[in-house]
Each structure stands twice: as C-alpha cells, then as structure tokens.
Symmetry: C2
Subunit: 341 residues, 2 copies
C-alpha cells in the first residue's frame, strides 16, 4: 500500500480510533513521511538526550482558511513553534505534532499538509519526534487543527528576559508588518479582495542564532508579534518593564500593497498579525550593528530600528508620526479578525 | 479583578485574540491558578534544565461529553499525558497546555476544567510550564479540546523497548478493563444508560516509578491500552515482536457492572478504551513478584497476570476462554465509539 492509496478519499472517524485504520494512516502517511529514529520507535512518546537548558513552547494552529497565499496550516504549525522556541534564545531541534481532524477532510488535503510540515521541518532543521491524531465528527471541528510543541537548547550566549530592558534600549523589527494577517484576510469568506499579498510565514531560528553568536547577552529580548500584532507586543512590554516606548512611524517597514489593503479595510497595520518577523530589543550601543547584520540576512533585508524605550512616559507607547505629530498606541481589547494563526 | 469576575459569562472570540481580553483571561485564570516560576515568565515558552534522557509525549483530548462520571476533559488531559510519559519508563515533571475553545463555552465550565487540571497536575507532581489558548467560532469546534505535551527524565534503571520482549515473557495488567470507555458510553447522547460506572482516569507515574525502582530492566514494556483497548495494544505487540500471545480469559479483571453494560451493548470489553490502567511485559522470573507489589499499591489492587508471549503462533493473539475453548483476538478496523479520550 502506498501513501496515496489508503482506500479512503477522506479522513473518517475510524482513522482516529486507535484500531487498524489509525495504524494504516500512521504507517503509510505519518511514519513514511517523517521517517526518523525517534518516531520509528512507535511508542507512546520519544526519548531525546539533553544536557543543559531546554526551551519549550506550544501552540495550537486553527487558521482559516487552511490553505492561503504563501502557505498553509501545516507549515504555519512548524514555523510558528520553531520561532517561539527561537524567541526564547534557543535552537529548536524537535517538534511534537498533534492533529485534530474533522471527519470528511479530503485525504489529499491531509497529505498535502503533512508534506508541507515535512518540508518546513527540514528547512528549519527540526525533527518530528512524537505525535497524535484525533478525528472529530463533521461539524465538531473545522477541517484540521494542529498543535506543535517545540524543544531546543538555549544558546550558550543567550540571556533573554524583559527584566534586562532599560531606558535607551533600541527596538528593531526584522521586516515589514501585517503581511500574514492581510494575506489571511484577503481570502477569508465574506472579506475576499484581489491582492497578491502573501503570508510571510518562515522559520527565523537561523537568523536568531546568528544574532546570538555575534551579540550574545547584549540582545535583551526577542518576541514575535503574531496575534495582536506589533502594537500588542509593545504595549505588553511597556507594561511589564514600567518604561515608555517611543516609535518612529517612518521607520516601520510596510509594503505598499499591505498598506493600501489596511486602509481600505480601516485597519491599523500595527495591530495586524505577523508570522515571519520578530522584534528584538537591544542595548543602544549595538543597535546599528544589529540592523546592519540583519539587512544582510536573507530573512530580514528590510530590518529597521523602529524606536526605543524611555523613562519619560512609563507604560505608554507613543507613535511619532510622519508629519511630526504624536499619538498613543493603545492595545486592542479583542482582535479585528479571529483565527489568524 | 478576581478569577470569577472577568466580566464575561462565556468564552468569546476576543479571548483568543492576543489582545487585552486574552491577557485578562491568562492573568486572572491561567497564571493565577498554575502560578509557578516557569509560567510566570509569560514568555513565548519556558526553559527547563535537563541532564540526560528526556521522554516526551503529546496528546490532544477531544472527549465528549467534557464532564463525565469520574472525571472531566481537564484531568484526562493531565493524566493521559502523564501516563504516556510514564509508559516510556520516565518520571513526568512538566506539561505544556494548549486549549482550543469553542466560542460560547460557559466561563464557569472553563474555570472548572482549569481547576481540575491544576488538581490533577498537583496530584501527579507535574507543573504546567507553558501554554496557548485559541478560540474558534461557534460550530467550528466542540466546547473545548485540550492538548498536553509532557516531559520527564527517563528512570536510570529503565530499559523499555518492545525489542526486549521474548517468548515466555508475562503480560500483567494493572486493573480492571473497559471502565473509562463504558463510563463515557453511558453518558453519550443517544446511548445513555443507567449505571454508576466511573472513568478510571488517574495518574500511574508513581506506580511505574516504584516498579522500575525494584525491577529495573527486567521490565520490558509499559503500554496504556487507551483507544482501541487491550486487544489493539496486544495485537500491535504481537505484530511488532513477531511472537504470539496467549491470553487467559479468567485472569482478565473486569467489574460485573462493566461486563453487564458491555453485554447489553454487544461490546467486547477487550476493545473498550481505558485510562487508568496499563499493561506491562516482564521476564517470567519476576512476574509473581511484580503482581505482588502491584496488588499492594493503591493504584493496582486488582493487578493480574493475564497471559504470555509464545513462539507458537507468531503475530496472533489467542484467548483461552473460561470453558476451555480458544478464539483469535483480531484487531478492530475502527472503534465502536469515537472521541473516548
């Protein structure tokens, strides 16, 4: 039997039963695709050998639609967790992978998602070491939800903590904002609009590693502005550090097409979700060098220093606008659009 | 603001937004309940220190109904993963916790589930160190799904692998079969019947540790017969080891009430899901001692040696019945009832 010939056109409840159908699905799709010594044990779990500090992060992915311009839920589930582990100053190496599939998902879509997971995992240098597959009745889920939990050793030079942030620290963003959110919005039922905006989903772990290799503990924080966007991350940081944040609007990278789409929908791009960018907070003395290194890296050619921490207006984020004005950036209560990741 | 006064009677989409509502929910329910130094970092992930072999296991829990006799989805999500880590011969210490909540879940139910998770985690001696909360629209989920991923150091004396199983090895079960599955079935829409059958969900990690402390590498395998029941686990083991299995029907512990319920519904208890029991495969020379130790332990007073591996009928599981007959135990294609865990 090959992975394209399980005898079923769709996933059905039997595939989540723990019986022979589950075993067939695992053997011919999951184990065949991810084939590695950890997973091949086919035990209840996997065993890795670790020595030192291990960063762990978990995320469930419920994005709708599951296929979108620039990616699908599978690669999002890999990159999202890989990046969360990297944001801890760590080097992601292993992922667990758990599916909750709605009965009726075309087998072809499932295979396509599994293949994307494999490709994204290979690109990021991580292995899928243990997993789980559950199937729920039609109408009790939404095609497919994926949970990934990632693990990786903390970089020996890393010392990442919001406690280290001080007045004067610079805020650098790795690339243009609002790409992922606007890509999803442009394809969401009832909101569709013509655009070529693609999700920026990608793995950022190697860029993070390069930065830590060079700058070590002078990097105070990494954070990826996914749900809630850049504004929510910065509001939280202002709150946590008891410092203010000054932002320079002109320095925030933003694609013209994304800006136009935000304007049409009445959205502030600072609140729109991102996937393939991060914010780093660094000591002022290394900010220029950090931007220089990032601009040369394939993942961050448009890196930019967008602002700094200040003791002037504690817990407040203030945007200095193009025309010289100032406005407060307040966190949203909810979000403009749910299920963006 | 207290954890019972978030200003919302139900979970709504804003609670999964990444904005202020998410932060409120996390601060006042999640962080307040699980309060520990790992989680309190409020970073994208958590950092643990490890030295040696680490076992990792992941599971998504989609059980319906979410509250059932003897437990709820929250404690199931803790115990299930704690036990899967223990089945690797390891000592579970940390869990990640990820919710996918359907819009409209009563806040009271969410709090009740979070409290059960806390209680089960404390009982099992594990800490919730990182997590995620997503909310999906009404009709796109089913109240709540929970993913937990668990971690723990492998016991220094453990050497657990189906490769170690040989002809003559004994199969011991820690308690009566089919309790969990029949508890769920008795409360499932359209199937309800009067019974006092309770789920056997519990943590088995301390029992596993006690066995490894005493018998070490003479224990060849632990496996918990959840979905697919005892029959599916044994069929898989016969297949993997290329050995046969002889079972003694009279030795398989089964509650009268569970047996009666199975008979009414036409179910074979060997195929019904379990939560609070495990199967261990041990060298014949220690089988009696293992059963003796287990019978004294609070988690396994009804432990029993139910059969053995044999070279006589490779890959086949044969049941020797009460009246002296023999029958083949063949694995099910699907399962009798989905969403049992």
């Amino acid at each position: 039997m090959s992975r394209n010939d399980l005898g079923f056109d769709t996933i059905n409840l039997g595939h989540g039963s723990g019986g022979l159908m589950t075993r067939d699905l695992l053997d011919h799709i999951i184990f065949e695709t991810f084939n590695n010594p950890y997973l091949n044990q086919k035990h209840d779990g996997s065993i890795i050998t670790v020595d030192g500090e291990l960063a762990i992060s978990t995320d469930s992915f419920v994005v709708s639609p599951i296929f979108f311009k620039g990616g699908n839920i599978g690669e999002l589930a890999v990159n999202g967790t890989v990046n969360d582990v990297a944001m801890c100053g760590a080097d992601p190496k292993f992922l667990s992978l758990a599916f909750v599939v709605e009965e009726g998902l075309p087998m072809e879509d499932f295979v396509k998602i599994v293949d994307s997971i494999k490709k994204a995992a290979d690109t990021a240098g991580v292995q899928i070491i243990t997993g789980d597959t559950k199937v729920v009745e039609r109408g009790k889920g939404d095609k497919i939800f994926i949970n990934t939990t990632g693990f990786g050793k903390v970089h020996p030079k890393a010392n990442i903590s919001s406690n280290k942030i001080k007045s004067g620290d610079k805020i650098i963003i790795s690339g243009p904002v609002a790409q992922h959110g606007m890509a999803i919005m442009s394809q969401r039922d009832g909101l569709e609009f013509e655009s070529t905006i693609e999700s920026d989903t990608t793995n950022l772990n190697f860029l993070v590693k390069d930065l830590l290799d060079v700058f070590g503990a002078k990097i105070h924080l990494f954070r990826d502005p996914t749900r809630g966007g850049v504004a929510s991350v910065l509001s939280e940081l202002a709150d946590d550090t008891n410092l203010g944040i000054k932002l320079q609007e002109t320095e925030i990278p933003l694609d013209d097409q994304v800006a136009a789409a935000c304007e049409i929908l009445g959205l502030d791009p600072l609140f729109v979700a991102n996937e393939g960018i991060f914010i780093t907070v660094v000591g002022a003395e290394i900010a220029d060098e950090v931007v220089k290194l990032m601009k040369k890296h394939e993942k961050s050619p448009r890196a930019s220093c967008i602002g700094e921490f200040t003791s002037e207006h504690p817990k407040k984020v203030v945007m200095h606008s193009v025309i010289g004005g100032k406005r407060m950036v307040t966190p949203l209560l909810g979000e403009q659009l749910p299920r963006i990741c």
